[in-house]
């Protein structure tokens, strides 16, 4: 947990990142940046999905609609915060010459998206019948 707090401090105090280790090949930093942007797009897509559930499924009951939309929005928030955190961790690992950090976040996000998708199918089918 203290590792996470230190990373959060680095988001806002970038000089800390530059002081450590050696500057890696710029191509590695750019690749890390593109990965960060890809995660940010994933987050934006989840947020867009949250808006879409709210707007384009108006026949659903209020609780289901709001619940699904909030689940997608929360996933979007988590995804974007995790994107910065992972970017900082990768940048630091590259500067120190360590292995890149591993993460179980992609698997968790995959499972969450699958659950939301299944819930959406069930809710739409049941909603149309009732």
């Amino acid at each position: 947990m203290s590792e996470f707090v230190r990373n959060v401090r680095l988001w806002f105090a970038p000089e800390g990142v530059r002081q450590e280790g050696v500057t890696p090949d710029y191509r590695f930093s750019l690749a890390n940046e593109r990965t960060f942007l890809a995660w940010l797009r994933t987050a934006l897509a989840l947020i867009g999905g949250g808006f879409a559930v709210d707007q384009f499924l108006p026949d659903l009951r209020w609780g289901w609609r709001v619940g699904l939309a909030l689940a997608l929005l929360a996933a979007g928030v988590l995804c974007s915060l995790r994107a910065v955190n992972h970017w900082v961790r990768c940048e630091r690992a590259m500067r120190r010459g360590e292995d890149l950090p591993v993460s179980r976040f992609p698997a968790l996000l995959g499972v969450l998206v699958a659950v939301v998708a299944v819930a959406m199918v069930v809710v739409v089918l049941v909603g149309w019948e009732g």
Binding site: L30, R41, L44, A45, D54, L73, G76, V77, S80
Partner: protein
């Protein structure tokens, strides 16, 4: 100029990644504005719409600045952590705006 060009076109690819991400944020912001003004022109709806537009503009400025740095400097400097944090916080703020609209 073309002599020291990176054959992997890394700066160009990164620039396009910023463009794609800006496009994604445009889609999300437009959906947000549509949700805010959906048959409702009260002051709070207009404020939510303006917030979505402002966040989109903020992201656009961030991305545009980074694209210019990538295009003008060789080798390009690494992304500034503060810019990365700002971009992520724009996304989070958009999600908060969306949650306020949904509830």
């Amino acid at each position: 100029m073309s002599g020291d060009r990176d054959p992997g076109l890394q700066p160009e690819r990164t620039r396009l990644a910023w463009r794609r991400t800006t496009l994604s944020s445009t889609v999300a912001a437009v959906l947000g504005m549509k949700a805010a003004l959906h048959g409702d022109t009260s002051a709070s709806a207009i404020a939510a719409c303006a917030a979505c537009g402002g966040l989109w503009l903020g992201f656009l400025v961030l991305a545009h600045h980074r694209i210019r740095v990538l295009a003008s400097t060789t080798p390009p400097p690494a992304l500034h952590p503060r810019r990365a944090t700002a971009a992520a916080l724009c996304t989070v703020a958009l999600a908060v705006c969306a949650a306020a609209l949904v509830i």
